[in-house]
Every structure is written in structure tokens, then in C-alpha cells.
């Protein structure tokens, strides 16, 4: 109870941040928020559903391009476009789930990557969206808001998205569906034999993760305003998956708090190892490998085991 109150206070403090912090700090926090969203969503898929996806960037890209499409070409209010884009992403994830959830393991992982590539190609075929050379939503935002306003509203949108997704995920995990999800993750055949509806459970997770990554994509667009051309660093690039995997592995796969810690760690690395370039990703990849092999429960998982911590009650803890 005390902890929930503490969380409420934290949320209120964060909500009032734009009135207290500088532009630079707000900008930094927005980055942290979308990293948190990506981390918890990837963890939802892999840690709670056993679905390793190397293609969630498909939804990040959909989110970003949908906002550009709706706000630039159809002159919708960009923040309303962000909400609509998230719904579009969720809708798209349903047929994708119908096709992809037949796969398991590495087939699902690379299959999702193929899906991301397909979306990237389909969008690059549309000249009105930039034809693969990138586009931007500068007009949609700057004609309506001053830069300070844009930063503030984007901050609140990012905070709202992150908080909402955290709450949804928490409630999901505490529910009956959440228990079946963890059963599926641990032993699918056994879960099915006691009546757990495996495909339904995975489907719900997939749609949630799809919607969440789309939301992150919209925030990323609102933050950076432009979409770079196609390539590994693009909005459909596999580097997003690299970041998600890093955050979740380092933070603690299958724990609730772990991905948040992982996002904070990545954010700190990003901010302070800025000269990096290629070495930045070499480091990320190497740390991910090392953590996967030597510290499989991640920073939070190890701390949980060591100090017997449990901040948020979500079923049982995962030991990998």
C-alpha cells in the first residue's frame, strides 16, 4: 500500500516536471520514457511470453509513419494522430499475430524481422511518405506549437504512454491471463494440457506489445520530428531490437522492474558514451552476450535473488 502511494507521488512529481526542469532535461526524460516503453514491451513478449522477436521495429516504424501520414497529409492534430496511430498499430498487429504466432523460437524471431523488412519496403514504395529517403513531421508540429510547447506536450504524452502501459501490463500479469501467460512461458505443452488457451494468451501479449511499440514509435517521431532514410539506423532498423534486447537482458528478463532498470542503464550509456559510433553498438552487443551467459537474471534479477527484494507483486519471480 505504501509502495503504491509512493508510485503515485512519483507520477505526480514527474507530471509537474515541465514546470520545474529545463528543456534539456525534459528532452532527456522523453528519451528515457520511450526506451522504458520499448523495454517493457519486449520483456512482455520474451520474458512473459517466451516470444523472442527481432522485429518489433516493425511497429516502431508504423507508429512514426502513421503520425506523419495523419498529421502532415491529413492535417490532424499531431497528438491526436499519435493516439490514432497507436490504435492503428494495434489493429495491424492482429493479422500479423494470426500469421506469425504459428512459429516458435528462432523461426518466430527471424520471421518478425522479415515482417519488419516487409513493412519497411511497403512504406518505401509510397512516394508520398518519402520513398525510403526519410520524411518529417516538422510542419505538423511547428505550425501549431512553439518549440517549448511541443516539448512539454510530447513529454506529457510520453509519460502518459509509459505509465499507461506499465499499469496495463501490471494488471494483465496479476490477472488470470497473466498466470496463464507465465505458465505458457515456462512449459507450453504442460500449460495447454491443463486447459490454458495458449494462442489466445500469446495473441494478447503480441497485440499489447505491438500497440506499445507503436506508441513508442509515435513518441520517437514527436521527439525527433524527422524520420531518417532506410538503413540499420532507420526507424525500421534492427538496431532498435538490439537496444531492446540489451535493456531487457541487462535489466532482468522476465521481471517487472528489470526492463525499467535496463532502460535507465541504456539511457545513461547513451548520454555519456556519446562519442561512440560503431563502438557503442559493439559494446552493447558484447555486454548483452556477456550478461546472457554470465548474469542470466540481469541486474535486477540478481539483486532480487541476493537481497530478497520484491517491489511489485507480480506472480512469482523468474529465475533463469
Amino acid at each position: 500500500m505504501a509502495f503504491t502511494l509512493g508510485l503515485g507521488v512519483l507520477l505526480a512529481l514527474l507530471a509537474f516536471a515541465p514546470l520545474m526542469l529545463s528543456q534539456g532535461s525534459l528532452d532527456n526524460l522523453i528519451q528515457l520514457y520511450f526506451l522504458v516503453i520499448l523495454a517493457i514491451m519486449w520483456n512482455a513478449l520474451a520474458g512473459y511470453g517466451g516470444l523472442v522477436s527481432v522485429g518489433q521495429q516493425a511497429f516502431i516504424g508504423i507508429g512514426a509513419y502513421a503520425v506523419v501520414f495523419l498529421s502532415v497529409q491529413h492535417s490532424l492534430n499531431p497528438y491526436f494522430a499519435m493516439l490514432l496511430a497507436t490504435l492503428i498499430g494495434a489493429a495491424i498487429s492482429i493479422p500479423v499475430a494470426a500469421v506469425m504466432l504459428w512459429l516458435r523460437g528462432g523461426a518466430f524471431a527471424i520471421g518478425m524481422w522479415v515482417v519488419a523488412e516487409v513493412f519497411a519496403i511497403l512504406i518505401s514504395l509510397d512516394a508520398s511518405l518519402g520513398g525510403g529517403t526519410g520524411t518529417s513531421a516538422v510542419l505538423a508540429f511547428n505550425l501549431r506549437y512553439t518549440p517549448e510547447q511541443r516539448l512539454r506536450y510530447t513529454y506529457w504524452a510520453a509519460l502518459a504512454a509509459a505509465a499507461a502501459l506499465l499499469v496495463i501490463l501490471f494488471l494483465l500479469l496479476r490477472s488470470r491471463l497473466g498466470a496463464s501467460l507465465q505458465a505458457i512461458r515456462d512449459d507450453e505443452a504442460a500449460a495447454a494440457s491443463v486447459g490454458v488457451r495458449v494462442l489466445l494468451g500469446k495473441g494478447v501479449l503480441f497485440v499489447l506489445a505491438g500497440a506499445g511499440c507503436t506508441a513508442a514509435g509515435t513518441v520517437i517521431l514527436a521527439w525527433q520530428l524527422s524520420i531518417p532514410p532506410l538503413g540499420p539506423d532507420s526507424i525500421f532498423g534492427v538496431n532498435w531490437s538490439a537496444k531492446m534486447i540489451f535493456m531487457v537482458l541487462v535489466g532482468g528478463l522476465g521481471t517487472f522492474e528489470g526492463p525499467i532498470i535496463g532502460a535507465i542503464i541504456l539511457y545513461l550509456l547513451q548520454t555519456y558514451v556519446s562519442n561512440a559510433g560503431v563502438w557503442y553498438f559493439v559494446m552493447l552487443g558484447s555486454i548483452a552476450i556477456a550478461v546472457a551467459l554470465f548474469l542470466p537474471s540481469g541486474v535486477w534479477g540478481a539483486a532480487q535473488d541476493r537481497f530478497n527484494l520484491q517491489l511489485l507483486p507480480v506472480g512469482y519471480r523468474v529465475r533463469r
Binding site: 527471424i110 520471421g111 519496403i121 559493439v282 558484447s286 548483452a288
Partner: protein
């Protein structure tokens, strides 16, 4: 169109060669090596280095590259992949993905993001003009021939040699094989060595055929994987079939619209997945049928 289909079939040879290692590793160890394409690319870059410093032809460069690849594969299995296998089901995926990222970025650092290409000698540009609209490039025929030879060699290895028997036994049931005296870890290491060597070979041929950059590995991985899945996971000759189907899908797609090249392959890949799921009412089972063809 006939020309496109023909070229697609020949392109399939390259994809089959590329996919052989992926298929082998999955069949024996149930590992999907996400760094497979990147390792193929490392083979290409190593050949490039040998050529630059020793001034030899690309084909001669294969002489140091292939044994090197065998060693790399062996070491990779004994260090990284063995631990990953023990740590859990998801872990090999995660570590090989980490490896993909590390290799891609290291290649970019050492070789710059520039595009390279390896010279292919006179056979590289020779072609046979069959009719006015159909030409057959000899180089692609060479690649297809190499793919068939490699697959055939592997087939013979699996069926007729001691190592092959050990590989098949370990693939079916590693624990019982160990009871029979097979050292599973050494078998796995040899399988990985062969897989990396075939991928390095494929990488060198790929580099001779088209331009490559440090991140081509990711694309080639996707194509190799699509070839394996289309042909049927766990079947060696299926990989050849899958490669050819993929190649034809891509070239036909490109015939319709130049930008549809990769999309053609992706569409066929997803269609095969859906078809399989529909036909197998109980759901798609990604089961290995051992490493045998």
C-alpha cells in the same frame, strides 16, 4: 520472364549455399545462428584482406579462408554457443543476435561502411547467349554447381562417414549418443565448424557476385533463413529447393517492378508459412528431422 526464372534458379544456388550452414546448425543443435550471415561476410572480408596483401586471385584466397573459417566455427561453438545451449532455450538466439551486432559494427569500423566487391576472374562476366532474350551467366552456374557439390558432400558425409553417423546420432538424441561413446561437445563443434566454413565459402561467392558492405550480413541471413524455411527446416536438399524457390520469387518480383525484388521473396516466405499453418490444423511444428537429407 523465362530469363528471370532461369536467373532465379541460378540465384537459388547461392541462397542454398548460404543456407546450408544455417540448416546444419539447426538440424544438429537446434540453434538458429542469427550471426550466420555476418560470419559469411567475415569470410568475404578475410578473402579481401588476403587478396590485398598477398596479391592472389579470389579463388586462391579461399585456401587460407576456408580452414580459418573451420577454426573460427569450432572455437565459436566451444566458447560461446556451448554455454548458450546450456543456459536455456532463448539464450542462443540472444547471444547470436549480440554477435551479429558486434560483428557488423566491428566490420564497419575496420573496413568502413563503403561498398566492396571481389573480382571474379574471366568466368565472372562470361555468359552464354542462348536466345535473343535468354542469357545464362556462367558464374551463377558455377555457384549452383558449387552448392550442389557442397550439399552432396555433406550428404555423403552424413551417410557414409563416422563423423556423419555421430552427427546424426547426436542430432536425434544427444544423451543416448553420449552413452554410446560419442563426445557430443566435439560433434557440435565440428558441425559448427563445417557450417561456418560453408557460410564463408558462400560469403566469398556472394562477394564476387555483388557488392557488399558491413551490414549485408543481415540481409543475407534473412534470405538464407527464408530459403531454409521454404524448403523445410531440417532437410538438407530441402534447402536447395527452398533456395531455388526463393531465388525465382525474387527475380520474378523484380521483373514485375524493380523495387519488388526482396518483397517477392518475403511474400512467398510468408505465404509458405500461412499455407503450412493452414494445412497442419494442429499448428506449425518447427521440428528438426535430424541433419539427414
Amino acid at each position: 520472364m523465362i530469363n528471370a526464372i532461369l536467373h532465379g534458379i541460378l540465384l537459388g544456388g547461392l541462397y542454398a549455399l548460404l543456407a546450408t550452414g544455417l540448416s546444419l546448425m539447426f538440424g544438429v543443435m537446434r540453434i538458429i545462428n542469427l550471426a550466420h550471415g555476418s560470419l559469411a561476410l567475415v569470410g568475404a572480408y578475410m578473402a579481401f584482406l588476403f587478396m590485398e596483401h598477398l596479391h592472389i586471385s579470389t579463388y586462391l584466397a579461399l585456401v587460407p579462408v576456408l580452414p580459418g573459417a573451420l577454426i573460427v566455427g569450432y572455437v565459436l561453438q566451444r566458447t560461446l554457443l556451448e554455454r548458450s545451449l546450456r543456459a536455456g532455450e532463448l539464450v542462443p538466439l540472444l547471444t547470436t543476435f549480440g554477435l551479429l551486432i558486434v560483428i557488423g559494427n566491428l566490420l564497419q569500423y575496420f573496413f568502413s561502411p563503403d561498398v566492396h566487391s571481389l573480382p571474379s576472374g574471366r568466368i565472372g562476366t562470361a555468359s552464354w547467349r542462348v536466345t535473343s532474350s535468354v542469357t545464362i551467366p556462367w558464374f551463377d552456374v558455377l555457384i549452383l554447381a558449387v552448392a550442389v557439390v557442397v550439399l552432396g558432400g555433406l550428404h555423403l558425409l552424413l551417410r557414409r562417414t563416422q563423423l556423419g553417423r555421430e552427427l546424426r546420432a547426436t542430432a536425434s538424441d544427444a544423451d543416448t549418443a553420449e552413452l554410446m561413446g560419442v563426445n557430443a561437445r566435439r560433434v557440435y563443434a565440428r558441425a559448427t565448424a563445417i557450417a561456418v566454413a560453408t557460410s564463408a565459402l558462400a560469403g566469398v561467392f556472394y562477394a564476387m557476385r555483388s557488392a557488399f558492405d558491413p551490414f549485408s550480413g543481415a540481409t543475407q541471413l534473412i534470405y538464407a533463413f527464408e530459403a531454409v524455411v521454404i524448403g523445410g527446416i531440417g532437410s538438407l536438399w530441402g534447402t536447395l529447393v527452398g533456395g531455388i524457390v526463393l531465388g525465382v520469387a525474387q527475380t520474378v518480383g523484380a521483373q514485375i517492378n524493380v523495387q519488388y525484388f526482396a518483397l517477392g521473396g518475403h511474400v512467398v516466405f510468408l505465404a509458405v508459412l500461412i499455407l503450412r499453418a493452414v494445412l497442419q490444423a494442429g499448428g506449425l511444428r518447427v521440428l528438426p528431422r535430424g541433419a539427414g537429407a
